[in-house]
């Protein structure tokens, strides 16, 4: 009786159409999901692609507070800032937080022992690896951009050569400022021990990486601390080894080693290479996230 009255209902055909629709879509989705379950790990597209920053020697994790603030105000963006400090006993303290839904947060990793020197930098690379693994486990991103100021660039390079495993995670872009690949050495022909070590293991660096190195100069030779030749020595490690290697020379106002990250020219380059650059520039990613938010 009940079914008969339902069949008389003028909307019966709509209900049937709905059922047919689900069956029609259900069959291909069943086949698809069965076929895809093995590659599901690859399909997991992490929405978050953080920018990880390492400050130079004698700077703390607060080194980039102003940089992030400037980026946020100049470009009208709302990147959150998370700061980690790795202590000498491998313990990590967190300050700040990543806003939920922020796909491009800044994460700064600093060290309580932030001294200069090759042995120390190697230690810092090991500490960074601990922090990096924690971040990876905590936020589950599968790609990121990197920035290193001064020795921060050395830490990145050592990290890439000694610790990084690019099977599970991709480093899209690396940008460094005044990174002394040859320490205080002016001539690129005199290789320090560190440079030699870095060149030896350069094959470990992921070949898909795009790297831009900025050197500041005042009076043609150095940025007041790091010689141009020392930054330029990075080419022995990266050139021809990765996808793109670019050396940028920055001059003029605020081209000094420590001031550089507040120069307008630098902010523009930083935003262009590190913040604005998505994994795939053709993807309608930004639009997608705007839709999903509604």
């Amino acid at each position: 009786m009940h079914t008969r009255s339902l069949r008389k209902n003028r909307n019966f055909k709509y209900l049937v159409a709905m059922l047919i629709f689900f069956i029609l879509l259900g069959i291909p989705s069943y086949i698809w999901t069965k076929r895809n379950v093995t590659t599901l790990a690859g399909r997991y597209n992490s929405p978050m692609s953080p920018i990880i920053l390492i400050p130079g020697s004698s700077a703390s994790a607060n080194r980039f507070d102003n940089l992030v603030k400037t980026i946020n105000t100049n470009y009208g963006e709302h990147h959150s800032l998370l700061k980690l400090t790795v202590h000498t006993d491998n313990k990590i303290t967190y300050t700040g937080s990543i806003r939920a839904g922020d796909t491009r947060p800044f994460i700064v990793v600093g060290f309580s022992n932030n001294n200069d020197g090759y042995t120390n930098i190697k230690k810092q690379a090991a500490w960074f690896n601990i922090a990096f693994n924690q971040l990876k486990a905590r936020y589950r991103f599968n790609n990121f951009n990197a920035f290193g100021h001064s020795n921060g660039g050395l830490i990145w390079t050592i990290f890439l050569e000694d610790y990084f495993d690019d099977a599970t995670i991709t480093m899209n872009q690396l940008l460094t400022v005044g990174t002394p690949y040859n320490f205080e050495e002016k001539s690129t022909s005199n290789h320090t021990q560190m440079l030699n070590d870095l060149i030896k293991k350069k094959d470990k660096i992921p070949s898909s990486l795009t790297y831009s190195s900025i050197a500041g100069t005042k009076l043609y030779f150095d940025d007041g601390i790091v010689p141009l030749g020392s930054v330029d020595a990075g080419k022995y490690i990266y050139e021809g080894n990765i996808k793109h290697y670019t050396l940028i020379t920055l001059t003029g106002d605020k081209a000094e080693h420590s001031d550089m990250i507040s120069s307008n020219q630098f902010i523009t380059i930083f935003h262009q290479y590190i913040v604005g650059n998505r994994v795939d520039p053709n993807s309608p990613d930004s639009k997608q996230s705007a839709i999903a938010q509604q």
Binding site: L6, N11, Y14, F22, P28, A41, Y75, G101, A290, Q294
Partner: protein
């Protein structure tokens, strides 16, 4: 004539019988609310935006399901790749979407200001246009990169409540600051001088509204504050994790209720009805478990937002709207409800519920508030029980955006037939929850039309 109406009224009251005290109270309460100016304005405004929301939701299907990067059909039938045609379709869809469903709040403030002004017998056209200007001023993004741009977040459905409140405020300003135009009816045909007079009558509220809007706009960073409470809740939802399954269940339920209530008010909650893209930590742990063990059974976190809310509580859009549509198609005799249900059915199959939300309307609708919360919660509890009793695996695998609601659990469990079965049970539950309220809504409508007629008689 009067005798006829009395007969009619008596007839209708005979027709409307209440099954119990609760129903009577609810219907009477709704009738009372519907008489409020605020509510009348909301209702008319929603009907104004309905066609745009409906068309926009069709475009949104194209945008998210067919050409979206992680869209359902893009994943299932990967034929349309990144080529010229794809981009053209993408551009067309984006344009159409942004100027239909993407800016309904602008249309809403036009309606709200217009109807409020009309109620107070002020110049409604000027009020509406002033409302649009004010809203765009408030939403203006003072950006150096894009010289003439607006924050898209609150132009869409998310800004609805804000737009309506602001619109009513502007209508009220027109009441306070201008006088009724004695020749409002004639101006369209009348001489030019009366048009000028009409403009000057409304000049004061127009200028004051615009100035207030710009002050408001400068003082607050609207996008930041509109997102701030949501962000706070979001961070709670994603960061706080618990080992205990029951507190997990409680947490998922609380955030689901928060999302549903917020959607009811035209705001947005923690969980999006479209897609499970932003996975929380617990879901990621589940996924990793499933990828290692090659099964979804016994995943470590059975009661997350993806296993319960996304998989079972969003059929047809937030609030298990699909249940309402089916309920209307089965039992409703109301022509309007049926038309809306038929038209909004298709987008709703892909979990885009804006058509029904504005067409019925469900936004701010006292009667539908109860099932709107109750149906998803019942579905989630049913799913939780089923998972706890090991009758089905939790859905842990990622699901493409815009996957039709009843297929989410099926795909999310890698094609578990039990999950599909429970999805059907979830539809049945939500239909049964919605049915009595659809009946009540019909009664409210009859009584409401009746009182409108009476007002007309007076």
């Amino acid at each position: 004539m009067v005798g006829y109406y009395i007969e009619y009224i008596v007839g209708v009251f005979m027709e409307v019988k209440f099954n119990n005290k609760f129903e009577e109270k609810l219907v009477r309460g709704t009738l009372w609310v519907q008489k409020l100016l605020f509510y009348r304005v909301i209702q008319r405004t929603l009907l104004l935006i309905f066609p745009f929301a409906l068309f926009g939701s069709f475009v949104k299907i194209v945008q998210t399901v067919i050409i979206g990067k992680e869209g359902f059909l893009t994943d299932i039938f990967p034929s349309l790749n990144n080529d010229f045609i794809y981009r053209q379709i993408d551009n067309i869809a984006t344009g159409l979407y942004n100027l239909t469903l993407g800016w309904v709040s602008v249309i809403a403030i036009f309606g709200a200001a217009k109807y409020t002004a009309k109620y107070y017998q002020r110049d409604d056209q000027f009020a509406g246009i002033t409302g649009v200007s004010c809203y765009l001023i408030v939403d203006y993004s003072y950006s150096k990169v894009m010289p003439f741009s607006f924050h898209p977040q609150i132009l869409g459905i998310r800004g609805l409540l804000f737009a309506i409140v602001l619109g009513i405020f502007i209508g009220w300003l027109f009441k306070k600051l201008s006088r009724p135009n004695p020749r409002l009816e004639e101006t369209s045909r009348g001489p030019a001088s009366s048009v000028i007079e009409r403009a000057f009558i409304s000049l004061k509220p127009i200028i004051i509204s615009l100035i207030l809007a710009i002050i408001f706009s400068i003082l607050i960073n609207i996008t930041y504050y509109s997102e701030a409470p949501g962000n706070f809740i979001n961070s709670l939802a994603t960061e706080y994790t618990s080992r205990n399954n029951w507190s997990q269940l409680g947490k998922t339920l609380i955030f689901s209720i928060y999302t549903i209530v917020m959607s009811f008010l035209g705001w947005s909650g923690t969980y999006s009805a479209l897609g499970v893209e932003k996975m929380d930590v617990l879901s990621t742990v589940n996924l990793n478990y499933a990828l290692n063990k090659h099964t979804a059974w016994n995943a470590p976190n059975p009661f997350t937002s993806s296993t319960l809310y996304h998989a079972f509580a969003t059929f047809g859009g937030t609030g298990s709207i699909l249940g309402l549509i089916i309920a209307i198609l089965i039992i409703s005799k109301d022509k309007d409800f049926q038309t809306v249900a038929r038209w909004a059915m298709f987008p709703s199959l892909f979990n885009i519920g804006s058509g029904v939300m504005t067409g019925i309307p469900i936004f701010f609708n006292v009667i539908f508030f109860i099932p709107f919360i109750l149906a998803p919660i019942a579905d989630m509890l049913m799913a939780a029980v089923a998972i706890q009793l090991h009758l089905m695996p939790p859905s842990v695998y990622p699901v493409p955006i815009g996957t039709p609601g009843p297929l989410i659990a099926f795909i999310g469990t890698n094609g578990s037939w039990q999950a599909l079965g429970f999805s059907i049970v979830a539809i049945v539950i939500s239909v049964y929850i919605y049915i009595p309220f659809v009946k009540m809504a019909a009664k409210v409508k009859i009584l409401d039309n009746l009182s409108l007629r009476k007002e007309g008689e007076d």
